[in-house]
């Protein structure tokens, strides 16, 4: 696992990123025809990445249906999300990928009309069961949203928010935890001198990494990311993608994205949704280069969506 990180191309290094590097990067990713894509663009194709089918299962979704009022948003979803692995949900707008993501940690509980049937299992826990402790569940399944949404508090208080809810930590323990989380989110060096300044003073990309730090500070096993880069500029996007790649060593990550290049760059497996159904699910390189369905091919090559 660790070697994988070492083998990453230099342009992926989160410490020595420059805009100049990015230009070549974007030129490459803009060629969206999978036939043109070289295999080494896909992490899954690099040596050292484990085969998804060999990994233990983090979340298993079976016969899952979701509704908003009378509208059925998802039909009979069956997916197994492996541990310590990046799974991307792709598909056109309104295909239900965000809905599924939000059901995994019951964020849809806030929406009165949202209903579901079927099963989402996290280990031995049935997520959808009424008796499931949602507060504890969300501690184990962190979520990062589309738009960076730091609280209007200091950087420190943002990261300490979750731990303060869940743990009885002394202030020195809290300090350690905040530093650990910010280091994990590759933000520590940028903010260590202004921990007690407002988080709203950070740039969009920094804010999103702060949100990731905030999510991992409560010690989740799974990270859900709902289009985490769609509100970011390309340079910030690249840094967050690097981070996702690094975090996948320790966390099972599910990322919803509209950006096919992003899915191809930073995911191991890809699930393609269309009109509330799973059309294709497989290793990212296979979904992008040898899709088995016509719809998938049309979507990943940009013919629709």
């Amino acid at each position: 696992m660790h070697e994988t990180v070492v083998q990453r191309p230099a342009r992926r290094s989160s410490t020595s990123f420059t805009t100049g590097d990015f230009v070549s990067d974007s030129e490459m990713v803009l060629s969206s025809n999978p036939a043109v894509r070289r295999p080494q663009e896909f992490k899954a194709a690099r040596p050292g990445r484990p085969n998804p089918s060999e990994l233990p299962v983090a979340i298993s979704i079976a016969d899952f249906n979701a509704y908003y009022g009378d509208f059925q948003a998802l039909h009979q979803i069956n997916i197994r999300i492996p541990q310590n692995h990046v799974t991307a949900f792709i598909g056109p707008s309104g295909c239900g990928k965000s809905t599924l993501l939000r059901w995994i940690n019951r964020m849809n509980d806030i929406i009165p009309t949202a209903q579901s049937s079927g099963s989402i299992r996290l280990g031995e826990t049935e997520v959808l069961s009424k008796s499931t402790d949602v507060v504890g569940l969300r501690r184990h399944i962190g979520i990062v949203f589309q738009k960076p949404n730091p609280f209007p508090k200091s950087i420190y208080d943002n990261v300490a928010f979750g731990p303060r809810l869940h743990f009885k930590a002394s202030s020195s323990q809290l300090d350690q935890l905040v530093e650990w989380s910010l280091r994990k989110a590759a933000l520590w060096d940028e903010v260590k001198d202004r921990l007690h300044k407002s988080a709203l003073g950070l740039s969009g990309g920094q804010q999103q990494r702060l949100c990731i730090a905030r999510a991992i500070a409560v010690g989740p096993k799974i990270l859900l990311m709902d289009e985490p880069c769609s509100a970011l500029d390309p340079a910030s996007t690249a840094r967050v993608e690097d981070l996702i790649f690094e975090l996948s060593e320790q966390y099972s990550i599910v990322i919803v994205t509209h950006n096919m290049q992003q899915a191809s760059r930073c995911s191991d497996s890809t699930v393609f949704f269309y009109e509330g159904r799973v059309v294709e699910h497989g290793p990212t390189i296979q979904v992008f280069t040898r899709p088995t369905h016509k719809q998938t091919e049309d979507y990943v090559t940009g013919k629709f969506g």
């Binding site: 806030i110 969300r138 962190g142 949203f145 949404n149 609280f151 209007p152 809810l165 409560v218």
Partner: protein, 400 residues
């Protein structure tokens, strides 16, 4: 051909332009009317009352037929106390209601019905005339629906705390002595036998009771603590600042609570709007980290909404401080009291009622005093509105 005829008959550009200009002038005139009236009002008040403003006016209280020595001292304190009670009562209830209406939208059919019903009532209550709240205040706070019995003249209220009752009598040496009252409802106590009491300097003494036929003692120390048997002592109450009784009767507490009812719908609506303005992304962030509803509300929603809530509450209180009608109903037209405000059960004059009383006083000089009191009231209103603007601006800077 017909169409081209129509298209050729253009209106003159000049008449259209002059109509546009005329309309602009009419709008300007109508708009200035309001300003003219306001300027006239303020000028008239300043002209009438300006000369009466002095330090003495601000600290003295009303003196019958002595306009030169009258002032709004008691009324200012009364208004501030009533306004404070009103704010302290209306804000927690208003904020809690707004949190319920905005954050705790129930899922069950019955719950949704109740929720909608409360929302509808809040909106309707905002338009109810304040005198109606005055009548409600009389029933609910002054008499408390008669649940605790009625307060009668020369009788202590049915339920009270913070008061101690003494009987007081004069000795042969013309000195006052006091002793605790065993029965607070008895106005007069007849002294038959000796008992322990306190003299004027608070020292404990043994009250010496002698028969009416006996000769009075001559040494002063004994005379100072001697009464004839059958002497009467009258009841006296000392009230602590936290003195409190039920029902509230005509008091500043009743007045403050009644004003709280008047502004409650305004506070609720302002708080609802402030809570609605908190971005839902913040709520989602807190929920996503495993916060429960109360934690989301207390750590995320309320801190962000607080400046908006405070602004609304201060503006509502500035409406409360100018209300006369409900206070006339609840406290009566009090214009001065012999003692200064000692506890929440006292009555007190307030600025609007003072203005009302002075404006209709037979002595025309009091009309000028009313104008001076209006200036004081306007200054208070301006101060409160400025504080509201300040709070909002500070909050905008903080969360920008």
């Amino acid at each position: 051909m017909a169409i081209s005829n129509t298209l050729n008959r253009t209106r003159s550009v000049g008449s259209r332009k002059s109509f546009d200009r005329g309309f602009q002038i009419i709008c300007l005139l109508v708009a200035s009317l309001a300003i003219v009236i306001l300027v006239m009002l303020v000028t008239a008040i300043l002209f009438k009352g300006g000369g009466w403003l002095s330090w003495g006016f601000l600290v003295n209280s009303h003196r019958e037929n002595l306009p030169e020595q009258s002032g709004v001292g008691q009324a200012i304190i009364g208004s501030l106390v009533v306004c404070l009670i009103c704010g302290l009562a209306a804000m927690p209830i208003g904020i809690a209601t707004a949190v319920f209406l905005e954050e705790y939208q129930p899922l069950s059919r019955l719950g949704r019905l109740l929720h909608g019903f409360i929302q509808l009532n809040v909106s309707n209550l905002a338009g109810v005339p304040s005198i109606v709240y005055g009548i409600l205040g009389v029933t609910a706070f002054v008499y408390m629906f008669g649940w605790f019995g009625q307060i009668q003249a020369n009788k202590p209220p049915p339920v009270e705390m913070g008061a101690s009752y003494f009987y007081q009598t004069k000795t042969l040496g013309k000195k006052w002595v006091q002793f605790p009252a065993s029965d607070r409802t008895k106005q007069v106590f007849v002294i038959e036998s000796s008992l322990s009491a306190f003299n004027e300097s608070g020292q404990p003494i043994e009250l010496n009771v002698i028969d009416r036929s006996a000769t009075a003692p001559t040494e002063p120390e004994l005379r100072d603590r001697t009464v004839y048997a059958g002497a009467t002592a009258s009841i006296l109450a000392t009230k602590r600042p936290w003195y409190f009784h039920l029902p509230f009767s005509k008091s500043v507490l009743s007045a403050g609570l009644t004003l709280a009812l008047v502004i409650l719908p305004i506070v609720i609506i302002a708080a609802q709007e402030a809570i609605r303005a908190v971005p839902s992304s913040l709520r989602e962030a807190a929920y996503g980290l495993g916060a429960n509803k109360w934690q989301v509300v207390s750590t995320t929603v309320l801190p962000s909404a607080l400046p908006g809530i405070m602004t609304g509450a201060i503006l509502a209180m500035s409406r409360a401080i100018g209300e006369a009608a409900p206070l006339l109903a609840v406290m009566g037209g009090v214009i001065s009291t012999t003692n200064s405000l000692g506890n929440l059960m006292d009555k007190s004059p307030v600025l609007p009622v003072t203005i009302y009383r002075w404006a209709q006083d037979e002595n025309p000089a009091f009309e000028n005093l009313a104008a001076a009191a209006i200036i004081v009231l306007l200054v208070f209103l301006l101060l409160m509105n400025s504080i509201a603007i300040l709070v909002r601006n500070r909050a905008e800077r903080k969360y920008a």
